[in-house]
Symmetry: C2
Subunit: 360 residues, 2 copies
Amino acid sequence: MSKSYVVAILGATGAVGTRMVDQLAESDIQVSKLKLLASARSVGKKMGFRGQSLTVQAATPDSFNGVDIVLASAGGQVSARLLPEAVKRGAVCIDNTSYFRMNDHVPLIVPEVNVDQIQNHHGIIANPNCSTIEMVVALNPVRVKYGLKQIIVSTYQSAGGAGQAGIKELYREAKAYLNNEPVKSEILPVKGGKRHYPIAFNLLPQIDVFENNDYTHEEQKMIHETKKIMCGDKNSTELKITATCVRVPIPIAHGETVYFTTEMTPSSDDIRRTLTKAPGVVVQDDPQHQVYPQPVNVIGSDATFVGRVRSDMENQRAYHMWVVADNLIKGAAGNAVQIAEELINQGAVHESKASAVLFE
Amino acid sequence: MSKSYVVAILGATGAVGTRMVDQLAESDIQVSKLKLLASARSVGKKMGFRGQSLTVQAATPDSFNGVDIVLASAGGQVSARLLPEAVKRGAVCIDNTSYFRMNDHVPLIVPEVNVDQIQNHHGIIANPNCSTIEMVVALNPVRVKYGLKQIIVSTYQSAGGAGQAGIKELYREAKAYLNNEPVKSEILPVKGGKRHYPIAFNLLPQIDVFENNDYTHEEQKMIHETKKIMCGDKNSTELKITATCVRVPIPIAHGETVYFTTEMTPSSDDIRRTLTKAPGVVVQDDPQHQVYPQPVNVIGSDATFVGRVRSDMENQRAYHMWVVADNLIKGAAGNAVQIAEELINQGAVHESKASAVLFE
């Protein structure tokens, strides 16, 4: 990584954007210039990066002149409008929104799983959904070694999945509740949605909007993104996946109960051993000493934590695991910066294929 | 219900006990005398019942002289010690602890499911675990109509499952956390356990102690109790069940994502219609209008709430549902009082078979 790069962070002041700045600072990437871009509301704000104080600028098409790498997390519509402008100006964009994820010309990357797909980019690489990333990091070593047939996942997702506003709403509501004051909900379950419900001391079995098949968009994302990442096709029938996504009253980190079936017949010890050696995975699994992943302990880490690995007592080749990761780091900013590092390692920053196919 | 009964509530001052007093007060049961029994610590405390103020007494064997019905929720060891004394004195006991649940001579009853088993009691009837009750109330109508083959459940269980002390710990920790004060955990995940972890703004994938197979006792309870209630045998192979139980930072009510497979091939609409007509079930399932069960809305109700009913898109005869109930009412006190009502309706209060088999 001797070359240095001009990097832009789009949505730099958000829950994920601020962590992109931090993760980039901690990375080995040589940054000759960092542009912090955001909406008009945040213009002029100062943010620190590797000892410098940088000023947030308004994001316009020309902001991307001379930029090599864009890390974007300012919402799907902002990505839709501005990333083509960045690509036109020669930048490669790593987009944390869902806008381009299902585009056949956009690689959807979790470096631990499908780093070989990075080179296929046409100027845009998509960062998967937070709840997808930690699940595929934990399951891919199992898939590679024992074959994976089916996944049934239930999520326990933090308010931070709805950004800084979600975390603030959780704390504001919790304080009001504990003070016996009325709780007023304005953000969750879906920002800008018709109805809002409290998250403090409550559970919301809705993340994102509902589709016509009564699954939420979040649940559909987990299904199609996992297939695209693991099988190369969002509609692959190689691997069956179904999901229920639930918002729980914690600020940061997502938990997941992952039930899966395999082609081979490993023991739970075999799976645990395989995961112990897997990239990006930390196994915390010693039930007799009450050792298992907990959200409060993983905040700030870029790893995916796995525990409670055990066999279904009545079905062969069926297992449980409990997965927890910081949704804003491994589930977003950390994975995006990891993709940028791989892009650089592979010399693929300016190697994008014709971007025309992307925007036709 | 014209006859009247002498009722004793053992553990009357606990989270479940206080609700037993309330549920009994609201029931149609004629109570000629109510004895409130507890440990020495609570003796002398006053509690209201149908307009009377009653004084809590110390629980001793002779407390049960003349008692017809005992409702017990003072912990397994207290039930083990005192319920045989109550049975010896002619009472029938409805026990909320797990102590007698797996005894072959003790019916394990959820009235909506196996009310016909009540008559088989030998002086003790067991009330199932909170997380089991709501699941079987929601699934039994499906089992009866479409056949049930397999259940995979993940729970979202409230701090109230650990009694009043669990709720207090959640609130105490949440206040400390929000005030940036140190959080000290003393109860959860298991009262009297070696290690304690915070529940406020956290998730604990441990409820009760771990068994040798790396499942928790709570998870094992869900498996064996469901089989005993639905199939009449705790080790039945008719129905496969597996579970992961997680404690979440809410005070009262348990959520469950229930994935199940059936023998027949109903549509999700068929299942929803069946549940709408089922006893004890309230269907709240209108995704397009963001209608689904939420813990904050079910507190105080004796019903089991079901929503998010939908088919697995890739597996025939496989479905999801989201179930929520007040764990202290339908999951405990409400179910116990409902059993007492059925006992009376069936004229089975003093019809217990020889109790000798129970205690040999």
